[in-house]
């Protein structure tokens, strides 16, 4: 390794963490690694807020006619939960934290293409998120995160406009991040880093960025139209004034369906890094996985009206979108097969990140398959707007995306912080999370199938046993989240120092120190083949 500068007054080498210590050096930083840490703290706070709303909802649903909260309050709770979790946790999560931190490192660059734009993205995120959070907490919004018209545009008496303003601003945070990532991947790869030598994580971040850039603007303009309708009393989506509420849904879901691919693709990228690392084996079918990634991003734009089958679109439109929705499942299936093939005859070790990755593969498969049920017109007639849908997307969002985030967080924690997390606690927490998750959400498939509607603060008594199971599961799930929060923070102070490559993984990020120096590499690296585990020496492990 090249020589590392030694700062006499610190007594250690210079890293991005200790290079400068003032608050200004953090809040005015242009270093993508510091910005990633700023995002990490921010999204954790939003997750806590969104999760708290879920706790209250699950407590309310312990009994069929609980008086813990009123109906109005319940509406505000599920709206808060949806808005915060979707726009301020899941959409930013992996791209702005792991993506920001790792993208330049993995391609051998010194920083992103536009570092100041990156910082601006974080400020937009904070400003938009704070604005929306204020609206959600002081008074609340009761339209659901989907803002369906004409309720949101005409009838709701809550802080819709302020909430929309915040989401609009945060949307531009996403757009600028996506723009930054796209230009960086195209223009700043180190010598030898051809497209087909990129780590799969970069492919997924790139595909996600395409969606950021092409889908988010449509959401921005659509929400603006809703705000305009409220403020000016005009009738774009209000049938009484000549408008079509289904037009809102078309425009809304044109963004929001690709948005779910924003939420899952980076998670798939993380899993594509974890599975080879902990199988000590090359990613099987690299080019197929790469093409499948792009296919998901592109096909994901063609299926949005499967959220609208019972809304009043034409039956022929429904058939078109149903067929396209079946199509988009195929590349996801390709990825699952390739991960499985990577595991086959691999030298598997079950460290914490691998536990999360394996959990992802199983739970994402269940979530994805139930998506196909929903894409089937006949079934969707019955389970639309029931807990079946809720279970489906939580399997993907929590069982998939959040588990991938946890896996990635653990895997790259030594690189980001220079400290090792306690492996024993990590495994325990992963198992607790897995058990808690399934107990929370599997009963919801049954509830939906039996007909329990979503977004209701009360339910018929025959559903109680499954609701109690679900709430019990949620308690265990909460422990699964709190444990890592505790031991990860503990590791910052008492954790063992990590070397440059504690997991003996492939990838340029592991060729520099943990944590990396401010400019990432002392000497610009040259890329070789990715996932070259077959060339690495594991005899001392």
């Amino acid at each position: 390794m090249a020589s590392i500068p030694y700062i006499p007054e610190y007594g250690v080498r210079e890293t991005y963490l200790n290079a400068k210590h003032s608050i200004a050096s953090w809040l005015l930083t242009r270093d993508h690694k510091r910005i990633a840490v700023l995002y990490m703290i921010s999204i954790t706070l939003f997750f806590a807020v969104g999760g708290s709303a879920a706790v209250i909802m699950r407590l309310q649903l312990l009994t069929p006619h609980s008086t813990l909260v009123e109906a109005e309050t319940y509406n505000k709770l599920f709206t808060l939960h949806g808005i915060v979790m979707v726009f301020f946790f899941l959409v930013p999560s992996i791209p702005t934290t792991l993506g920001n931190f790792l993208l330049p490192l993995m391609i051998g660059a010194r920083d992103l293409a536009f570092p100041r734009l990156n910082l601006a993205s974080w400020y937009l995120f904070i400003f938009g998120g704070s604005l929306t959070l204020t609206a959600l907490i002081l008074g609340g919004v009761d339209t659901g995160w989907t803002f369906y018209t004409p309720y949101s545009s005409t009838f709701s008496n809550t802080n819709v406009v302020v909430a929309i303003c915040g989401i609009f601003i945060a949307g531009f945070s996403s757009i600028f991040t996506g723009l930054n990532f796209i230009v960086t991947v195209h223009k700043m790869r180190c010598p030898g880093m051809t497209w087909f030598r990129l780590p799969m994580f970069i492919w997924t971040i790139y595909a996600t960025s395409i969606i950021f850039v092409l889908a988010t603007p449509v959401l921005a303009i659509t929400l603006t139209l809703v705000a305009l309708e409220r403020i000016l009393g005009v009738g774009i989506f209000d049938p009484a004034l000549g408008g079509d509420p289904i037009l809102f849904q078309h425009l809304f879901w044109f963004y929001s369906h690709p948005a779910v691919y924003i939420m899952i693709l980076p998670g798939m990228g993380v899993v594509s890094e974890l599975v080879p690392a902990f199988s000590r084996k090359q990613l099987f079918g690299y080019s197929f996985v790469a093409m499948a990634t792009l296919a998901i991003a592109i096909l994901g734009f063609l299926v949005w009206a499967h959220h609208m089958f019972v809304a009043g679109i034409s039956i022929y439109g429904g058939m078109v979108f149903s067929a396209l929705s079946f199509l988009v499942a195929i590349p996801s299936g390709v990825k699952v097969f390739n991960w499985t093939a990577t595991l086959y005859k691999g030298s598997i070790s079950l460290e914490t990140p691998m536990l999360y990755a394996l959990g992802f593969i199983g739970l994402f498969t269940i979530g994805g398959l139930t998506g196909l049920f929903l894409a089937t017109l006949g079934i969707d007639m019955h389970v639309h707007d029931t807990y079946f849908v809720i279970a489906h997307f939580h399997y993907i969002m929590v069982g998939g995306a959040v588990m991938a985030y946890m896996g990635g967080l653990h895997f790259w924690w030594p690189k980001i912080t220079g400290k090792l997390y306690p492996e024993g606690w990590g495994r325990i927490a992963a198992v607790i999370l897995f058990v808690g998750f399934n107990l929370t959400f599997f009963p919801q498939f049954i509830l939906g199938y039996l007909g329990m509607p979503r977004r209701y603060y009360a339910y018929a008594p025959e559903f109680q046993v499954y609701n109690v199971m679900s709430t019990a599961g949620a308690t265990i799930l909460a422990v699964g989240y709190l444990l890592p929060m505790c031991y990860l923070i503990w590791s910052l102070f008492r954790g063992k120092d990590a070397g440059p490559n504690p997991f003996k993984a492939a990838g340029l990020e592991w060729q520099t120190t943990s944590p990396p120096p401010p400019h990432n590499f002392d000497k610009t690296p040259t890329a070789g083949e990715p996932y070259n585990y077959h060339e690495m020496d594991f005899s001392d492990v």
């Binding site: 293409a113 659509t222 000016l232 774009i236």
Partner: protein
Amino acid sequence: MSELVAEQFDDLEQQTEAGTLGMWTFLATEVLFFGGMICGYTVYRHLYFPAWHNASLIVDNFRFLGVSSGAWNTAVLLTSSLTVALGVRAVKLGQNRLLGRLLAATLILGIAFLLIKAAEYTHEYHEGVMPCYGVFHPDAEISANLHRAAIGSQISETKLLRQFQLFWVFYFFMTGVHAVHMLVGVGLFTFLLIETRRGRYTPQKHAPVEIMGLYWHFVDLVWIFLFPLLYLVR
């Protein structure tokens, strides 16, 4: 030299290519931003054609010297695109004085566009077609036209009025968002003009002019489509 190339880039060429690609990516987002409105427009034009045809005639009827204000505005913007393109050429050839003049011409044309737009909006306000509640009172001549159109197309008059109002929502919103983009463009080009007067741009450092020029051309492109869509619904 170090001031010319930011530290994350290896050389000036990489920086310029990254900047240009970044602007094109941003313009792609803008296509989708306006695209949402154009989607809504397409749906309602399909559903409410008689009312929209009627309304479009009114928009097109505001004329200077027999030519509609929309056509004048299109001519103004196309000319400004020419001055921008010639300006980018000038900076690449190191013709700083010419660049300054062309940027000033672009600014004048941009402001002329905004002034014509303001005149249109004022006229439309007085005709009573601004679509917010309390203000939407189409004048006698327009109301009579609508009445005739309702009879002719066999749509109830209240419905036709609502569909007519919806056109105006789209008209003001689409041209309004476009005008905001023009304002931003005017701001950017004022900045470019000030920097040009300070001699900041050279054939080596011409990228900011070219990149902001792309933005200006894009705003012109949007108008190229808005003009037939709003003024020429036939």
